[in-house]
Symmetry: C2
Subunit: 144 residues, 2 copies
DNA sequence: ATCCTAAATGCAAACAATTTGCATTTAAAT
DNA sequence: ATTTAAATGCAAATTGTTTGCATTTAGGAT
């Protein structure tokens, strides 16, 4: 989904396109990896120093309402945000070193789902986060 | 791992077994599902009303140090705690209605791991949370 | 283009969750 | 029993997030 499509969706849902909102969403859109609130704030202040933290928080609600926001919660307790522009369900390969996140297609094998079914558990949704080292970082680490 | 084993591990690691600590860990040990901090506090206050919230927080550090604590972070932003007494890696089937969590064995299929390998991503750890309705709750919901 | 109104924003204050400093208590080694 | 480092309770501090309210602004109506 390209940026204009996002804006269109926003407007069609009755939200106004303010200067701040555009910058806030754009920051997330152009980031190649999930970012923390701190990073998000810096990126937006970069374009408009007057933008307030609470405005970002309020826009989180908007993005969630639009179903566009993905919140990633690593084990360390932090929260990172990224836009979810995919049609279908996906998960992330998250690099423990550089933080880059790459989306991958869904994952639960048939056999695995079968095991769950056998337990008569009605599976509605799942959340999978994969941590490791991406190719680049792995190479870097080998050098040391 | 039975409770005495947990206590033994605690002592062997140089921690003292205080009355409060015992109650705090016992509460978690005897709970059949992951619990919130609020629930944890209630369970401990039940046995000793004087126990302070900060003592629980400090004992979280201890349990993490011992590698016994599992933190579960549902999408709703809450945090639940449970003891991880298993030898091998496992995941949870978490009921969206009653909150009961059942551990299941590991899950990533060979094909799935192959896909990740092909991306030259060095997978270190992963986190999978499965949400849905357990058998009992499913039955209950059908009644309505 | 100007006017109008609901939505959005900035700011400061409120709030919730977690952590910390410090005086006191306690487990357990001596 | 004595001693001492570790653990606790309490209150205050800190951090992250939310809210109330006065002001501003986007975008439809005129």
């Amino acid at each position: 989904m390209d940026f204009n499509k996002v804006i269109e969706l926003l407007k069609n849902s009755g939200y106004k396109l303010t200067n701040q909102r555009k910058i806030i969403i754009e920051a997330l859109y152009h980031s190649d990896k999930p970012i923390s609130m701190e990073e998000w704030l810096l990126l937006t202040k970069d374009k408009n120093p007057g933008i307030n933290l609470s405005t970002i928080y309020r826009n989180i609600d908007v993005l969630e309402d639009l179903g566009l926001l993905e919140k990633i919660r690593p084990k360390d307790g932090s929260i990172k945000y990224t836009l979810n522009l995919m049609e279908h369900h996906s998960h992330f390969l998250i690099c423990k070193r550089c933080g880059k996140a790459e989306a991958i297609e869904c994952c639960l094998s048939k056999e695995f789902k079968k095991i769950i079914e056998d337990k008569e558990f009605d599976l509605i949704e799942h959340n999978l986060e994969l941590y490791g080292y991406c190719k680049e970082c792995h190479t870097e680490l080998d050098k040391k």
